[in-house]
Symmetry: D2
C-alpha cells in the first residue's frame, strides 16, 4: 500500500493541447504593482498567469497595463471570471477577453456569496455548457466534490480546478480525500486552485497526484513575495517528484491490532 | 499573526563551527548497495552523510567499503551510534570512529527498545555528558520534549535533533508544536531527525524554522530512491525559503466569534 | 475568540414541526437481525430511525418485518432512498413509502457511483424540487458544500444533511470548516450524515453546532453494536452540551509572533 | 485492524488499590469561588479532585476553605505539587500535605519554565524516587514520551499522567501516537493530564485506551463551567464505551494502491 507497488506514469501537463513544463500557475491583481507581479511570475518559473478580466487593465493604454510588465509573448494568459456571479456574466466577460486578446483557453469561476467566495456549482455548470458550445477551452473552478467534477468533465471541461480551501484563506487543503478521488477519476488535468498558504501545502497537492497548482494570495501576501514565489517553484517540483518517486510505506509502531491502528 | 510581522533572520546552517549550504542530511546503510547510496547523496545535494559505525564497513578493506563510493573528501561523515542501547556503548563506538577516521563531529543516539526505536533520554544525557567531556562535538537525537532539549543544550550539545515520528515510520511530524517550541528556545541548530515520509513532511519541518532535516528511509525505501532524493532537495529548499519569506496570514471565513474559530 | 464571548442559543431539534429530544438518528438494514437493530435503537436513545425503503421489508407479512421489532409507534420512521440513482427513482420510492406507511417526512439521497457513494447534487436538487412540490418534508443528503446546501434550503429542504465522509467509511469529519459554514448559514436543522466512525467524531460534529447526527455503520459494524450505541448516545450529548457551554479559548504557548501561530 | 478483532478487557480504574467508578478527575483553584468548584465537581460526577497544595487553603480556618465546599468525605483528595520547580520542593510540599490531611496518594508535577509549563523529566524522576522511598503512592505528570513513562513505572509510579498538550492550552491531544504507545506498554493506569479543551478531546483520550482524564481549565474556563462539566462526564463515558465496544474499521474509498492510501 501507500502507492509503493504502483508505478505512476509521468505525463506532461497538457491542457487543451498545450503542454507546459511548469506546474505552477500564478495570479495577477493582488500585488503592490505590475512590476512586483512580473518579478513573482518570473521567480515562480510560471508559464501561465491567470488574469481577472474585470479587474486588471488589459485594454486602456492611458493607464498602467499588465501586458507592459507580464508579456503575453512570454506567458500564456489565462483570463478568468473573478467577480462574476451569474453564468451570463461569466460568458460575457470571457467573450470580451477573447475579442481583446484572442484568448480561448480560459478559467471559469462563478462565485456565490462574497463571504466565502465558494463557487456556485449550478451556475458554474450552466456557464460551462454555454462556453463549451461557444468554442472556449474551459478550465473550471469548482468545489472538491468528485461527482460535480465528473459532471463538469462530461460537459467538456478542459481541466478541473477544485478548491483546496476558501479563496484567499491560506488554510491549506481541507479535504485531501476529495482531491484524491478527483485525481483518480479524471482524464483531464486536475489543478488545485485556492487555499494554498505555504510551500508544504503546494507540495501536498502535488503528492496527491494533481497536475498543477494555481495560487495568488500565497505569493502576493507573503512578507517577501518574490522569495515565496521561489519557494513555491521548489515546492511544486518537490511534490511532483515525490509523487512520481513513490513514497515509502507508512509503518505503525503501535500494536496493529489495537484501536490506534486507524488513528495515526 | 502567522509570523507575518516578524522578519526572520537568515542564518547559515553552522554546526560546531562548520557551515553547510545544504540543509538535508542523508543516511547510509538502508540502500541496495553503496552505489545507490552514493547516487542518492548526490541527488539530494547533501554535504553531510550520517554513518552507523556499527553497521557500515569503514575499516575492513577485504569487504566493500562505503568510503569507496561516498567519499569523505566530498561529504562530511557524521558517525552515529545506531544500535547502541547504553551510554557506555555509545561512547565506545564513537571513540572507535574517531580513531578510525578522525571524526569528532558525531551524532549520538541511545535507543530504548527495538520496537519503537525511541531514544532513552536518561541514558542519552549520560552519554552526552561523557562525550562532551571527551571533546566530541555532539549532535544529539532526542524526543521532541523542549525541556529535555534545553537540558541537552545546556550540557553542551552542538545540535538538537528531535524526532518527528518513530524512526523508519514515515508518519510525518507528529508534534509540530513541540518542534516549534524547541526552535524558539535553541541557540544551537535544530535538525528534525526521523519520521519524514515524503516531501511535504520535509517542507513542513523547515517551515517551522528548523535548521536542517535528516532522513534515511524516506529516500532509501521510496520506489525510486534517486528521484525521491531530488524531491527532498527541492522540499527542503522550499520549506526554508517559505519560512524566510513569511507566509500569508491564515484567514477564517467562518464567523470569527463562533466555536469554529479554534477548530480550523 | 473561540466562541467564548458569544452565548449560543439552545434551540430544540425541530424538523418540519416535529420536535425531538434525542439528537441521534440511527439506521436500519446493516444489523445481524431486526432484534439487534431494535436493541441498538433503544440503547442509542434514538427517536428517529431511517429506513431504506428498497432494502427493508416494510410490507410483506410472510417475511420478517422491521416493524415487528422497531415499532413505528415508538420511533419516528424516516424513509430514505438508498439505492436510488436518479431523481425519478427517488420520487417513486418515497411515494410508495408514503402510501405504505403514511410517512411524509423523508430523507432524500440520490447517489452517483457505487464506489464512493457520494451524492449527485444535480439529480438530488431535481428530486428535491419534485418532492417539495409533491408535499413531502424532505431532509436532504448532500455534499459539505455550503452553497449547494443553501440552494437546497431555498428549494424547500426541511433539513440539510451534509456528509462528513463517504458513507460507510468511518473516516470521521473530513471537512469541519465546510460543516461549520453550513451551520452558520442555515435556518433549517443541519444533521451530519455519513462518515462518523467513533464517539469523538460524533462529539465533534455536535461541537460544530450541528443539530443532530445520523449514523448506521458506526454502530452496526462495531464489535459490540449495543455498547457502541450507548457510547454514541453519550457522545452526542457531550458534544451538544460542550457547544452550548462554550469551550475555553485555545492558547498558543509558542511565541505568538512566530510562524507557529497559525500551525497549531 | 482498527482494533476490530481484539476484544478489549474492561478493567476497573484502580490506582494504588483504590477503585473508582468515575474516570474524570477535576481540578481546583481556577474557579470563581469554591462553590462553583464544588458544583462542577458534582456535575462532572468526579470522585477525585486534585488540589494544588501551595495554592489552595487547606489549613487556615480564618479564610475560606476548599474542604467546606468540596468535602474530603465525598471526594478523594489528590494533592499535587503545582508551583514546584525542584524535586526537593515537591517532596517538601507533599510531606506537608500528608501531615495536614493524611493523604499519601499524590500527584507529582515538577515543572520547568513558567512559559510552557512542561515538566522537567529529570527533576521529576528524582522527586519520584524520593517520594516512593518515602512511602507515597505517586501519580506522575510527565511528557508523552513512552520511554520516560516506562522508566517512571519501573521507578514505582502508581499511575502515568502524560500531557496531551501544554497545561491550560486547550489544544487537544497533540500526539495520539505517543499516548497510545504508553497505553500499550503500561501496567499501571494511564491518565491524560493537561491539554483537553473540549468534549471530543476527552472522548479521543479515552478511545486511545487511557484509564482516565484529568482536566482543570477546560471546565473552569468554559463560558458555563457547570454545563461543560456535564459535557465532560458524558464525553469520558462515550470514549470509554467506544473503546470497549471496538470501533468499525476505517475504509479508504480512494484506490488503495494509490499514494492516498496513507494520507487519510
Amino acid at each position: 500500500m501507500d502507492g509503493f507497488e504502483r508505478r505512476v506514469e509521468d505525463k506532461p501537463f497538457t491542457v487543451a493541447g498545450r503542454t507546459f513544463t511548469s506546474r505552477l500557475i500564478v495570479g495577477t491583481g493582488k500585488y503592490a504593482d505590475f512590476a512586483e507581479n512580473a518579478a513573482c511570475a518570473e521567480a515562480a518559473g510560471a508559464e501561465v498567469v491567470t488574469v481577472a478580466v474585470r479587474r486588471v487593465n488589459l485594454t486602456d493604454p492611458t493607464q498602467p497595463m499588465l501586458v507592459d510588465h507580464v508579456s503575453p509573448e512570454r506567458f500564456t494568459f489565462l483570463p478568468n471570471t473573478a467577480g462574476c456571479y451569474t453564468g451570463e456574466d461569466a460568458v460575457r466577460t470571457l467573450r470580451l477577453a477573447r475579442e481583446a486578446g484572442g484568448w480561448d483557453l480560459v478559467k471559469l469561476e462563478v462565485l456565490s456569496d462574497p463571504k466565502t467566495l465558494y463557487p456556485d456549482v449550478f451556475e458554474t455548470m450552466r456557464a460551462l455548457e454555454m462556453l463549451v458550445k461557444d468554442g472556449f477551452q474551459v478550465m473550471v473552478y469548482t468545489t472538491s466534490d468528485p461527482v460535480t467534477a465528473k459532471r463538469m468533465e462530461e460537459a467538456g471541461a478542459a481541466a478541473i480546478m477544485p478548491l483546496g480551501a476558501p479563496i484567499g484563506s491560506g488554510l491549506g487543503l481541507q479535504n485531501p480525500l476529495d482531491i484524491r478521488l478527483i485525481v483518480e477519476q479524471s482524464e483531464v488535468p486536475v489543478v488545485v486552485d485556492a487555499g494554498v498558504g505555504t510551500a508544504s501545502d503546494a507540495a501536498l497537492a502535488m503528492e496527491l497526484g494533481c497536475d498543477a497548482v494555481l495560487m495568488n494570495s500565497a505569493i502576493a501576501e507573503a512578507r517577501e513575495p518574490v522569495r515565496m514565489a521561489q519557494a513555491m517553484k521548489h515546492a511544486v517540483v518537490a511534490g511532483r517528484e515525490a509523487y512520481l518517486a513513490g513514497r515509502m510505506p507508512r509503518r505503525m509502531y503501535a500494536d496493529p491490532s489495537s484501536p490506534l491502528a486507524g488513528l495515526i
